[in-house]
């Protein structure tokens, strides 16, 4: 019975194809973007959460040991 329900939708097969295409495009895009990122940009980003990066700020509230 489910088969009948689905066949009732015009061209349901297209959903599978579209899904795969969207996904493929999406991940290729993301991958290319990530590969293109510059080293010093990445370094800057990685350091953001760490105390050392807060060059301009004096966060007095950060004991170094727990």
């Amino acid at each position: 019975m489910e088969q009948k329900v689905i066949c009732g939708i015009e061209g349901v097969g297209i959903y599978g194809v579209i899904s795969i295409l969207i996904c493929f495009t999406f991940f290729t895009g993301t991958f290319l973007w990530v590969v293109s990122l510059k080293k010093n940009y990445l370094k800057h980003m990685e350091d953001l959460p760490l105390d050392g990066s807060e060059k301009n700020s004096t966060d007095k509230n950060q004991p170094t040991t727990l």
Binding site: I6, Y15, S19, F26, T30, W33, E46, P49, L50
Partner: protein
């Protein structure tokens, strides 16, 4: 360069931290009470308000939205200010958010025990509270975006992306799944019915796990883990892929909660494929977290904060591997409806969310109070007892789940079910349910130890309400930066708005591909001529079923396996549910499926069974419902209910609710009372139990007389 001096708001962080601990204890206590009732039903003290069906949603809501919710806000309010080098956008909104959220939790804690529930999992709260949630959530989102806009750091660290995606997606999910027609102040019916309702609900339910329990916590992981280890994240590139991969793929995977149900095959397959693809970004994220600790493992051994984090991230990896495996149809045919699902949920909740929350609390308290943690030793004890608790919780419940699944499917050599009596399969796992409760107790003891430790830490230190810092403001114009032309990714995360739009597009694509066909399907579900709307008495009975949370233990969805059709009867068809607002398929079987319950027992059997299940089924773990025998049914609100249902498409004739409905109800109730008399039960026709019996006797009977199709698929 001019430097600005400003203050981080620590008060709001502390408020959310306290709320996290308090609600964590409450939520887990309620969970423990529910767990105990599963082997000792009388633990409800015969009070309807704390009976399993009503407190199960209280437990899930408390743990998800109160414990993890407050934990999330605590971490976000702390890290966002520091990552943006800015105070929160508005102190007023911060406190509006805080008190709004707490009042929503309190109203949930009041209404769910009273039986005000939509029955949709993790979305049980009734419509006035739903509106409040939307308002408070919008406030949070405004505060979040406002802070991002006034930031003094040009770039948005990946944690912020996770926070933003959380805020936006939860809003979309909440609104879509809350489409409901009020029928009084604390009663409403889902706009969607049957298959459609199920699909929307699990699209929501799945993504609530994704975007409430996972993405915000991943953001927190990307901030607090490097911070606690004092090392940069292993690979920032990987974290970007983790983010986009996760938010893009997660949305598609919802239908894996509905495998082998009356949901169309293509949607099931889509859900399965995307679930498997999810392993990649999830494991990328886990490895990224664990590899951040390379070279500092000696530190992990000493520092409880890092210890908790390691287990949390590992649990994230385990749960995100297990989830996709459970989405494989053959595995799912065994695991669905069993305790395996509960085990899976708790490896995520106790391991990932719980332990990460604890690590943040241990990290934050000494900093907020400018002191050392009161006792590292006690925190280490907490770690070990918590870990032991997880083991004692999860291992028995896995065994229970697999045992149930196998027993349900077992045929003897003559081709009959080996365990035709469902109760046998429950009795078999009761020892496991006991062990599970011990595991939960251990975990909870650990939380009490933490609460004490944090309290002593606070006592010993001095709270710093504001942290004064300095930073240069962001240049107003987008300068071309150090390297000449801006590359487009820099533009992208330099501009939160563009980012926001892209993230929304990413999540909507999956949502739309899934949801649009459902609207098409609606017109294509073949109406089964013999399926009629529920009678007024049955509507009230169904509402009793919803109020008491029977679907916490009973499914109403027979899957097309011989082991199920043999046990329960003809498998469920999409067309049977067209008037089910909301759908009541359930997700867990601690009792038999009820989709074909109608006509199986005489009315009097149900009466006695509801009064005391152990009188008809010795050893049953079903709670007693004696109050249904004495409480009057909700006649007054019947007109509201019927007209609300008509407004969303159930074809009751106009004016039916003003007179004819009451007459029909009377007649049907009298008939049941007469039937009960035959079974030597004296009942009055205006009691809840009569309505419930009418509903139970109706279940699945619509197509019983229709020609039988073959069961095997």
């Amino acid at each position: 360069m001019n430097v600005e001096t400003f203050k981080y708001d620590n008060r709001i962080v502390r408020a959310f931290a306290i709320a996290t601990v308090v609600w964590g204890i409450v939520g887990m206590l309620v969970g423990l009470l529910a767990a105990v009732q599963l082997f000792f039903p009388d633990a409800n003290l015969n009070l309807q308000f704390i009976t399993f069906g009503r407190i199960r949603p209280l437990h899930t809501n408390a743990v998800i939205f109160a414990f993890v919710g407050n934990g999330m806000f605590m971490g976000i309010y702390y890290s966002l200010q520091r990552l943006c080098k800015a105070r929160m956008f508005s102190d007023f909104i911060s406190w509006f958010h805080f008190w709004g959220w707490q009042s929503i939790i309190v109203s949930a804690a009041l209404t769910l025990p009273l039986g005000f529930t939509t029955s949709k999992e993790y979305a049980e709260l009734e419509w006035p509270i739903k509106i409040a949630i939307a308002v408070v959530w919008v406030a949070f989102t405004v505060n979040l975006i406002g802070t991002i806009l006034k930031r003094r750091e040009k770039h948005m660290y990946v944690a912020i992306w996770f926070y933003l995606a959380t805020a936006l997606t939860v809003a979309v999910l909440h609104v879509t799944n809350s489409m409901t027609m009020p029928a009084g102040w604390f009663k409403s019916y889902s706009m969607y019915a049957g298959v459609q309702d199920a699909l929307v609900q699990w699209w929501y339910g799945h993504n609530a796990v994704a975007f409430f329990l996972t993405t915000p916590y991943l953001g927190l992981m990307y901030y607090f883990l490097p911070k606690a280890a004092n090392r940069p994240v292993f690979s920032y590139r990987l974290s970007i892929i983790h983010f986009w991969g996760l938010i893009f793929l997660y949305i598609w995977a919802g239908p894996h909660h509905l495998l082998y149900t009356a949901l169309p095959d293509w949607a099931q397959s889509l859900g399965m494929v995307f679930s498997l693809m999810l392993i990649a970004p999830s494991w990328g994220g886990m490895l990224n977290g664990l590899l951040t600790l390379r070279g500092v493992w000696d530190k992990v051994r000493q520092d409880p904060v890092l210890k908790f984090m390691v287990v949390a991230v590992t649990a994230y990896g385990m749960a995100t591997l297990e989830g996709p495996v459970m989405a494989i149809k053959t595995v799912n045919s065994l695991s669905h409806y069993t305790d395996w699902t509960i085990a899976h949920a708790h490896s995520g909740a106790l391991g990932w969310n719980g332990f990460l929350t604890f690590s943040m609390l241990y990290f934050l308290y000494p900093r907020l109070y400018k002191t050392q943690l009161w006792s590292t030793k006690l925190a280490n004890y907490h770690f070990w007892i918590g870990l032991l608790g997880i083991m004692f919780y999860i291992i028995p419940i896995y065994v229970a789940g697999i045992t149930e699944g196998l027993m349900w499917k077992q045929f003897n050599k003559d081709g009959f079910l080996q365990y035709p009596n469902f109760l046998e399969t429950i009795v078999q796992i009761v020892p496991m349910l006991r062990l599970r409760a011990i595991g939960g107790t251990l975990y909870l003891v650990g939380v009490f130890m933490m609460a004490y430790n944090l309290y002593r830490t606070a006592k010993a230190g001095e709270f710093e309400p504001d942290t004064e810092v300095q930073a240069a403001p962001l240049e107003k114009t987008v300068s071309s930066g150090a390297h000449g032309k801006l590359s487009w990714h820099r533009m992208l995360e330099g501009k939160p708005m563009i980012f926001t739009v892209l993230a929304v597009v990413a999540i909507l694509i999956g949502g739309i591909v899934e949801i649009i066909p459902m609207y098409l399907v609606k017109e294509n579900v073949p109406t089964i001529a013999s399926v009629h709307p529920y009678t007024p008495l049955e509507v009230l009975g169904r509402d009793v079923y919803i109020r008491e949370g029977c679907l916490g233990c009973h499914s109403q969805m027979i899957r097309p396996f011989r082991s199920e059709t043999e046990r329960y009867g003809e498998y469920s068809k999409a067309g049977e549910f067209v008037y089910d607002h909301p759908f009541l398929w359930g997700s867990e079987r601690k009792g038999p499926d009820l989709a074909r319950e109608g006509g199986r027992y005489p009315d009097a059997w149900h009466y006695n069974h509801m009064d005391d299940p152990r009188s008809t089924s010795p050893g049953s773990i079903m709670p007693r419902y004696p109050w249904l025998l004495t409480q009057k049914m909700e006649m007054d609100s019947l007109p509201w209910r019927l007209s609300a249902l008509r407004r969303i498409g159930v074809p009751y004739p106009a004016g039916y609710e003003n007179g004819p409905a009451q007459k029909d109800l009377q007649a049907q109730a009298e008939k049941i009372v007469a039937n009960l008399k035959l079974g030597s039960v004296n009942a009055e026709p205006d009691k809840d139990i009569v309505a419930l019996i009418a509903y139970l006797q109706r279940l699945g009977t619509d197509i019983k007389n229709a020609p039988v199709t073959t069961a095997a698929k």
